[in-house]
């Protein structure tokens, strides 16, 4: 076991991926000498060279578009989008090309491209640096969308993502980059499309992913003092969604609360609510409740603590569930 930050765990996972397969490339703005603005790619260009860790021009569509071409030539590019809000210039290449080209080819082409996106708020950043764009991508067939929440998962998930033959949007919770935890560098990790029960409980199922998993675990710990036994699920994969884990849990607890940073309106929580309602209707003691951002753009950072669901807002939703 080694103690690693989430950023360093990703770095180790990327290093392993590059060692294992000479076709794996890293590309993005500032990923080389600087090691990325969050240092996730720190030291990799030094060890693997400029042909494998490619500092690109400053143009997101170009990063994804050329990665597609490299993948067509047999490479496995990992693209870094510097911040969540900057993925939109690349959205066309991701949505109209990356996601659809394998289908367009009737399966003769594979595009094993990983798009890494530091996501979410909580770091006091300026506009466009704190967004949660996951549903733009979960709504696009052909993409897999995953979100890591802790160092151990980050280490295995990035390697699994690189090995996967489908294009993957890989969300990294930027306010958790500096969280430390024990990582077993030899452990295989849970399959990429599976959710994980990160805390078992009897009374209510709390569903989260990415940065909100830690918040929900804190909420569960606090609720324990009030005698409530909260089960916390880390979805890990948003597309595909592991509906089995959700069904099993909510069938048992009878209550479900979903928490994410993105706006609640047509957010990923809506999908969870619909699926759980469809599958667990006769077991539910209360409607599935959602906690998340407001129907506003992400606010200036002096207000972000009001926008981001915290432990208290999560527990308030749990209380509302029990009030039914």
């Amino acid at each position: 076991m080694t103690t690693l930050t989430l950023a360093k765990a990703l770095n180790e996972g990327l290093r392993r991926s590059m060692e294992d397969d000479a076709k794996v490339l890293l590309m993005g703005e500032d990923v080389g000498k600087l090691g990325g603005v969050f240092r996730v790619t720190d030291g990799l260009q030094k060890d693997f060279g400029e042909d494998r860790v490619i500092d690109t021009p400053l143009a997101e569509s170009g990063i994804i578009g050329t990665a597609i071409g490299l993948a067509l030539r047999g490479y496995r590019p990992i693209c870094e989008i510097q911040f969540d809000g900057f993925v939109f210039p690349a959205a066309d290449q991701i949505i109209t090309q990356l996601a659809k080209m394998p289908l367009r080819s009737l399966g003769t082409l594979k595009l094993p491209v990983v798009v890494r996106i530091p996501c979410g708020g909580g770091i006091g950043a300026v506009e466009h640096h704190s967004e949660s764009p996951e549903v733009y991508f979960t709504h696009t067939a052909g993409l897999r969308v995953v979100a890591c929440s802790n160092p151990a998962d980050a280490y295995t998930m990035i390697q699994d993502a690189v090995r996967c033959d489908d294009p993957i949007i890989f969300f990294e919770p930027k306010r958790r980059y500096w969280d430390k935890a024990e990582v077993d560098l030899a452990a295989p990790g849970l399959a990429l499309d599976r959710a994980r029960v990160v805390r078992p409980g009897r009374d209510v199922t709390l569903v989260a992913y990415g940065p909100m998993v830690k918040t929900c675990l804190e909420a569960a710990a606090a609720a324990e003092e009030d005698g409530r036994d909260i089960e916390v699920i880390d979805l890990r994969s948003l597309n595909p969604l592991d509906a089995e884990v959700l069904t099993e849990s909510v069938t048992r607890t009878g209550r479900c609360v979903v928490a994410h940073e993105a706006p609640v309106f047509t957010g990923f929580g809506a999908e969870i609510a619909a699926r759980v309602t469809e599958r667990c209707f006769y077991h539910l003691e209360a409607p599935v409740l959602r906690v998340g951002g407001f129907s506003t753009p992400y606010p200036p950072s002096r207000l972000e603590e009001h926008y981001l669901p915290d432990l208290d807002r999560v527990l308030d939703a749990v209380d509302r569930s029990f009030a039914y």
Binding site: P102, L109, D193
Partner: protein, 363 residues
């Protein structure tokens, strides 16, 4: 509304031309080529057959058999000339109008028709033909070509990528990004712009204040304008650009100065936006007629040869039509196929549910 003067009657001075509209062979100091009689005849045959496939497709669309068709009429020389310049190992990235390049890459024309008929989104195997799938979003494929060329660099391969796009595409961000990438990475890629003067109803003046080939210099690589209706010149210029790319000299932008004789697609009506005399002027520059004139004048082919090619075109047209009409609709389950390379639980669930639902009607 901005009025624009009728264009195209006078070829700009920078244009590389090896065969005049009257079928006279002319020399060029940098781009002259030697072609055997057999090669010229073969190019003529390609031009005629490609035009025939295109006309057949337009007819099929008019009869309701295709949802849409993007005609290449008038652009045969640009496509066959550049397409015949490619080596087997070179990779071509087309838009949705490159039926002539597809022909040169041995893609069955029925595959092209299948896409426009709505059978699939592109059914051929790009790796088998080194001809990528048609790309409908304007300019996206230019980046794919540059990325592919960066892969060739890393593999140490002796080949190049070529990417096709139109005059309208040069306004797109992706095309400009692809120029930057190609330039700073010195990628072995040829940008082949078929300037057919019109982006649906928008004239070139709405895209650029300068000749398109001159844009290349701003990105740091050479740009050349070639007579896009001259199959010899298109072949020569593309051959040279590909050779430079393969030899590590980086990208070239070729502007093939040509004219779309038909509509943008079968959905629009060019009489609404362009002048008849423009069309008449370009008819005099027809890419097929000038090769025919050259062959005839120089006694390199006789009437029998032309009749034979015409008969071959008739047979090809009929074959393409028959096989297009025989294309079966894919089964409903095909909706769910090939969305992902690996297993996907939700998609599997939706497939099963829908096929079960459909089966309910059959009982």
């Amino acid at each position: 509304m901005t009025a624009h003067a009728p264009r195209g009657a006078d070829a700009p001075p920078e244009l590389v031309q090896l065969l005049t509209p009257e079928g006279e062979r002319v020399e060029h100091p940098d781009y002259d080529i030697e072609l055997t009689t057999e090669e010229v005849r073969s190019l003529y045959r390609d031009l005629v057959l490609v035009r025939r496939v295109d006309l057949e497709a337009v007819a099929l669309q008019r009869q309701g058999e295709l949802g849409l068709w993007a005609s290449l009429l008038g652009q045969e020389a640009a496509q066959v000339g550049s397409g015949r310049a490619l080596s087997g190992a070179d990779m071509a990235f087309p838009t949705y109008r490159e039926h002539g390049v597809a022909w040169c890459r041995d893609v069955d024309p029925v595959n092209l028709l299948a896409l426009f008929r709505g059978v699939n989104h592109g059914g051929w195997n790009p790796a088998e033909h080194n001809f990528h799938l048609y790309t409908i979003v304007i300019g996206s494929q230019t980046l794919h070509a540059v990325g592919y060329a960066m892969g060739i660099q890393r593999d140490g391969g002796e080949s190049a990528a070529i990417v096709y796009f139109g005059d309208g595409a040069t306004s797109q961000g992706d095309v400009n990004e692809s120029f930057i990438w190609a330039s700073v990475f010195n990628a072995p890629v040829v940008f082949f712009c078929q300037n057919n003067q019109w982006a649906i109803s928008e004239p070139l003046e709405k895209q650029s204040k300068i000749p398109l080939y001159k844009r290349a210099s701003g990105f740091g690589f050479p740009g050349i304008r070639v007579d896009g209706n001259d199959v010899f010149a298109c072949l020569a210029v593309t051959r040279a650009a590909l050779r430079n790319a393969r030899q590590g000299q980086g990208p070239t932008l070729i502007e093939a100065f040509t004219y779309r004789m038909g509509a943008h697609t079968t959905s629009d009506d060019p009489t609404r936006y362009r002048l008849a005399n423009e069309l008449e002027a370009w008819k005099l520059k027809d890419p097929i007629e000038r090769v025919k004139a050259y062959l005839f004048k120089n006694e390199l082919a006789d009437q029998e040869f032309f009749e034979k090619v015409d008969a071959e075109a008739d047979a090809l047209g009929k074959d393409v039509r028959d096989r297009c009409l025989a294309l079966p609709d894919p089964p409903p389950g095909a909706i769910f196929d090939h969305v992902y390379a690996g297993a996907h639980a939700l998609l599997d669930e939706e497939r099963e549910q829908y096929l079960t639902y459909l089966a309910g009607f059959e009982r």
